[in-house]
């Protein structure tokens, strides 16, 4: 499976970047992940995941404009590389095929 290349959190971060589109940077990615997951997300882990994803060539970044609320620093926005999209598609297909027909068994007990 292609997702062998990345860990679980990295996988989640890729999805968050995909969802956020043009506004994906550290703060929004962390917020997005916290909104969608049950367990607490440690902010530094997200940044480490971003760092690793970049190293693996799955995402790239561009700088925004400097902002006064950031002490005059620019935001670093992230976007997915084509390989990352392929990888997400493939993982979704795998999951969907595995889940097919399992819906009733996974309903929460009444």
């Amino acid at each position: 499976m292609a997702t062998d290349r990345i860990g679980e959190l990295e996988h989640l971060v890729l999805l968050a970047v995909l969802r956020l589109g043009d506004s994906a940077y550290g703060v929004t990615i962390t917020d997005e992940l916290s909104r969608h997951t049950e367990r607490p997300i440690l902010r530094p882990s997200v940044y480490i995941a971003l760092r690793r994803l970049k190293k693996k060539g799955l995402i790239r970044s561009r700088m925004g404009d400097p902002k006064p609320t950031r002490g005059g620093r620019a935001r670093r926005y992230f976007e997915l590389q084509p390989e990352a999209l392929d990888l997400l598609r493939e993982s979704r297909a795998t999951f969907q095929s595995l889940w097919k027909g399992m819906g009733s068994q996974m309903e929460a007990p009444e």
Binding site: Y25, G26, V27, L42, R43, P44, S45, Y47, I48, R51, K67, P68, T69, R70, G71, G72, R73, A74, R75, R76
Partner: protein
């Protein structure tokens, strides 16, 4: 910083420094920017909470990135070695290595540590409590005791001290003695003088500012090997003209960094001086003249050594000639002293004369050294305790998991894997401990600089820098090595299957005797530190309650320079008394007076006195006194009690009067058993022989903790020692008078700056500040030591009780009562305290000497402090035993037996 004129909303600086240290550059801007953005949003809910949040994030980020770096390094290493020896990526023993093994192991360990967060937090806090203070104190030792002074070859520089009668180890020579020293050319390459600090007013008219100047001999700066950063040094010709070299700080602050300052003139006390040089930033002539630290020097003026052998007020610095040692120079000085005593019997007769040259840096920090060294020993012991306790906790945690480890071992996990896991755990915990320790030490350095007054030489050099970070990191590694080795040894040595066997048996008789000894030592240390803390707290209380024989509350003080008639006219001696009369009429003023040296502002002039013929004083030693020039009204204002005779009246303050007031010490010494009033004294300083008109109590104006020397008060017109400082007793808030006082002085036309407006009580506070500072330090140390000892005890007790759980459960099931079980545990562990607490008391007796110079009003071996320390230490430790013991005794026996 960001908001222009608005409030400063930038995140905590130290936390940012931590981030910058550990987050790699390519991610730093993003991380800092993102965190600052969220921080800004969070400040809406309160700055303090946002600050805490930022600190937490900074520590998490720093730790996470540090781990990432370690991981990268290991992966790189693993890949390299894997490629050469083991292509499959497994070790010969079957343990996975390389990135997968490392990161999964890291993840597992991290997860376990997060799950057991109480345990992790405990270890991290213990390590931080040990590392933080140790890093802070190592920095203090480096900056104050070790770092060389900023002069050329500072090791060859020395300060000359003189012993002459009551002058003991006094840092000031008479002018002629400087000339005498200069004749020893084979010993000294240079002999130069840096005089007493004096207050001047800088500027003209309304724009007057108080500044401090020092007279120096022309060769002083060349001898130190420091030349002005701009302009030139003094030459012999400069002594005749009015030239001045100013400090970089004065140039930047008062003179606005104007490049035209150099070569231009500045007005000092109404006189024009040409600025010929500006010293480099931070330059100061550092020497310890008195017990108090001199104010920062703003400028230097040149002077020439003249012939005078009466006043020992000129601090003299020497540079040893090449190849000469301090011992050789001192031997030569002994010879010089002997010949001087022969040559000038009228000056030196009756008292042994001795010159000693001390190396400059050790002399400067001589008084501070024992306290700093004691504090260093204290924090290092604290660090040792912390490492031992953290290791004990690690081992306890491993023991708790021994069952799981045994099972895993049985399932085929190699011992190496288990050791690696233990190491990983101590690695992670030490990194966190080190990081929190960095925070503690930075906060410690900051607090030292901010809360402890500048009462120790070079204290201003204790500032936040990279060292506390580096030192904490190094100490973290020490903790890691100690903790890691211990765990590795424990796991590696243990045959885990034994744990299975013993767990199924009837419980072990664990005594943990080694750990008992360790805990006992910790308890003893904590008791010793608690003793020091209690003793100092009692000293500080006792000192604040001491009757100083003067009342400092509600008194405003300020310095008034001597006025001259016209620009260069003769001094206007009577202006002080006129100003006093004017101030006395201000509403809200109860009493006014003036004196040459304010109470607790330094020693002031010292000279001999001789009773009238027929009275003899046993030893010359006792015949030195502190001289004070006063304007009548001073003693009434500061309320020095009158014991006999009368206070000064205005008619005494004339050139014709020949009256003085002495203190009780002098009266007792010179006229034992008789009344001193009406008797005559021959005085120093060219003051004519005078009649004593009053005897006052000995006011502790030189040292609040003891009587120093006799005191002689002389009317200002007889003893013209300017500038004078005024004391004004107010009806309400003294500081509210400042404006009115300034206006009155302006109308009186003193034409000079009134400076140094402050409360007299501030002098009292400063004089006791060293004691208070050390008290705070020792109390904090003692509290940390007590907490650590209690935690250590708690860990060991919990550990052993856990191992005895089965035995306890069985006893309980067989009918032993809760009280019986609890009592047994308390007795079993309380026995540690029986030797430990007395041991601590004995240790305090040994250490009492260190604090002796600071202790006041309580004995060096104060029984109350000792009892308090023993009881406090005992109670804290009993509590640390009681909590786990109660839990064990109250445990449900069936549950305890089912665990296995």
């Amino acid at each position: 910083m960001t908001g222009g004129g608005g409030p400063d909303l930038s995140p905590p600086r130290l936390a940012r420094a931590l981030l910058r240290t550990l987050v790699p550059l390519d991610d730093l801007e993003m991380v800092e920017g993102d965190l600052e953005e969220v921080y800004h949003l969070r400040t809406a809910a309160g700055r303090v909470r946002a600050g805490f949040w930022y600190w937490g994030q900074a520590i998490l980020f720093a730790g996470r990135y540090l781990l990432e770096r370690v991981r990268d390094a290991v992966v790189a290493g693993g890949v390299a070695s894997g490629a050469s020896s083991s292509p499959e990526g497994t070790s010969p023993g079957g343990c996975p290595v390389g990135s997968a093994g490392f990161s999964s192991r890291t993840r597992q360990t991290l997860r376990r540590l997060v799950r057991d967060w109480r345990y992790s937090l405990g270890v991290v806090l213990i390590l931080a409590l040990g590392i933080g203070p140790a890093a802070t104190m190592i920095l203090v030792v480096h900056r104050i005791l070790l770092r060389p002074l900023g002069y050329e070859e500072p090791d060859r520089l020395g300060l000359v001290r003189i012993d002459l009668g009551q002058l003991t180890s006094h840092a000031g020579l008479a002018m002629s003695e400087v000339t005498d020293l200069r004749t020893l050319e084979d010993q000294f390459a240079a002999v130069e003088v840096s005089g007493r600090e004096r207050e001047f007013s800088l500027g003209t008219g309304e724009e007057l500012a108080p500044v401090t100047g020092v007279e120096v001999t022309v060769g002083l700066f060349p001898m130190l090997g420091v030349s002005p950063a701009r302009g030139r040094a003094f030459t012999d010709e400069d002594v005749e003209s009015r030239t001045v070299i100013i400090s970089h700080e004065l140039w930047q602050s008062r003179l606005g960094g104007d490049p035209g300052t150099l070569g231009g003139t500045i007005q000092l006390d109404g006189m024009n001086f040409e600025v010929i040089g500006i010293m480099p930033p931070g330059f100061a002539v550092q020497l310890k003249r008195t017990d108090q630290l001199p104010p920062r020097t703003d400028f230097w003026v040149p002077f020439r050594v003249f012939e005078h052998r009466q006043f020992w007020g000129f601090p003299t610095l020497v540079r040893l000639a090449n190849g000469v040692t301090f011992a050789e120079a001192n031997a030569a000085l002994e010879g010089l002293a002997a010949s001087l005593q022969e040559e000038y019997p009228e000056v030196y007769a009756g008292a042994p004369l001795r010159f000693v040259v001390h190396p400059l840096l050790p002399d400067l920090v001589r008084q501070a050294r024992p306290a700093i060294q004691a504090a260093l020993v204290g924090v290092l012991l604290l660090l040792l305790t912390a490492v031992v306790n953290a290791t004990a906790l690690l081992v306890v945690a491993l023991e708790k998991r021994s069952h799981e480890l045994a099972v895993r071992c049985a399932l085929g996990a190699g011992r190496r894997t288990l050791v690696a896991e233990g190491l990983m755990e101590s690695l992670i915990l030490s990194i966190w401990g080190g990081l929190v320790g960095v925070g503690v030490s930075l906060a410690g350095v900051w607090a030292l600089g901010r809360f402890i007054p500048r009462s120790i030489p070079r204290w201003e050099s204790v500032t936040v820098g990279w060292e506390p970070v580096a030192i904490s990191a190094a100490l973290g590694v020490v903790a890691l090595v100690a903790g890691g080795l211990m765990t590795a040894w424990k796991v590696g040595r243990g045959t885990p299957w034994l744990a299975l066997v013993s767990a199924s048996g009837w419980g072990r008789t664990a005594r943990a005797s080694g750990q008992r000894v360790l805990v006992g030592v910790q308890v003893a240390l904590a008791v010793a530190l608690l003793f020091g803390g209690t003793q100092l707290v009692r000293s500080a209380r006792s000192l604040t309650r001491t009757d100083l024989n003067f009342a400092a509350d509600d008194v405003l003080t300020f310095t008034v320079p001597l006025s001259h008639e016209g620009d260069d006219g003769p001094p206007d001696w009577d202006r002080y008394q006129r100003l006093r009369d004017r101030l006395a009429q201000l509403p809200g003023v109860r009493a006014v007076g003036a004196i040459s040296d304010l109470p607790l502002s330094g020693t002031g002039p010292i000279d001999a006195f001789t009773p009238e013929a027929g009275d003899t004083i046993a030893a010359w030693d006792d015949a030195l006194a502190n001289y004070f020039a006063v304007i009548p009204g001073f003693m009434e204002t500061v309320r020095i009690p009158l014991l006999e005779g009368r206070y000064f009246e205005d008619r005494d303050n004339t050139t014709a009067s020949e009256v003085i007031i002495v203190d009780e010490t002098l009266a007792r010494m010179a006229f034992p058993g008789e009344s001193a009033v009406g008797r005559r004294l021959t005085l120093g300083w060219g003051i004519p022989e005078s009649i004593i008109v009053g005897v006052v109590a000995h006011a502790r104006t030189v040292d609040p903790a003891q009587e120093v020397r006799p005191q002689i008060y002389v009317p200002f017109r007889q003893f013209r020692w300017a500038p004078l400082s005024f004391v004004v007793r107010a009806n309400g808030d003294p500081l509210a008078l400042v404006g009115a006082v300034r206006n009155a002085a302006q109308e009186e036309g003193t034409g000079r700056a009134l400076s140094n407006f402050k409360l007299l009580s501030a002098n009292v506070a400063r004089a006791t500040s060293t004691l208070r500072a050390v008290t705070i330090l020792v109390v904090v140390l003692a509290a940390s030591a007590a907490i650590l000892a209690a935690l250590g005890l708690y860990a060991v007790v919990s550990y052993v009780i856990l191992q005895q759980a089965r035995a306890t459960a069985i006893r309980s099931a067989l009918g032993a009562s809760f009280q019986r079980l609890l009592g047994d545990q308390l007795w079993d562990w309380g026995r540690i305290l029986l030797p430990a607490v007395p041991g601590g008391v004995a240790l305090s007796l040994l250490g009492a000497r260190i604090l002796q110079s600071l202790v006041y009003g309580v004995g060096a071996r104060d029984g109350v402090s000792m009892a308090a320390a023993g009881i406090l230490g005992g109670v804290i430790c009993l509590l640390a035993i009681y909590l786990p013991a109660r839990r064990a005794a109250g445990a449900d026996p069936s549950a305890a037996l089912q665990v296995e």
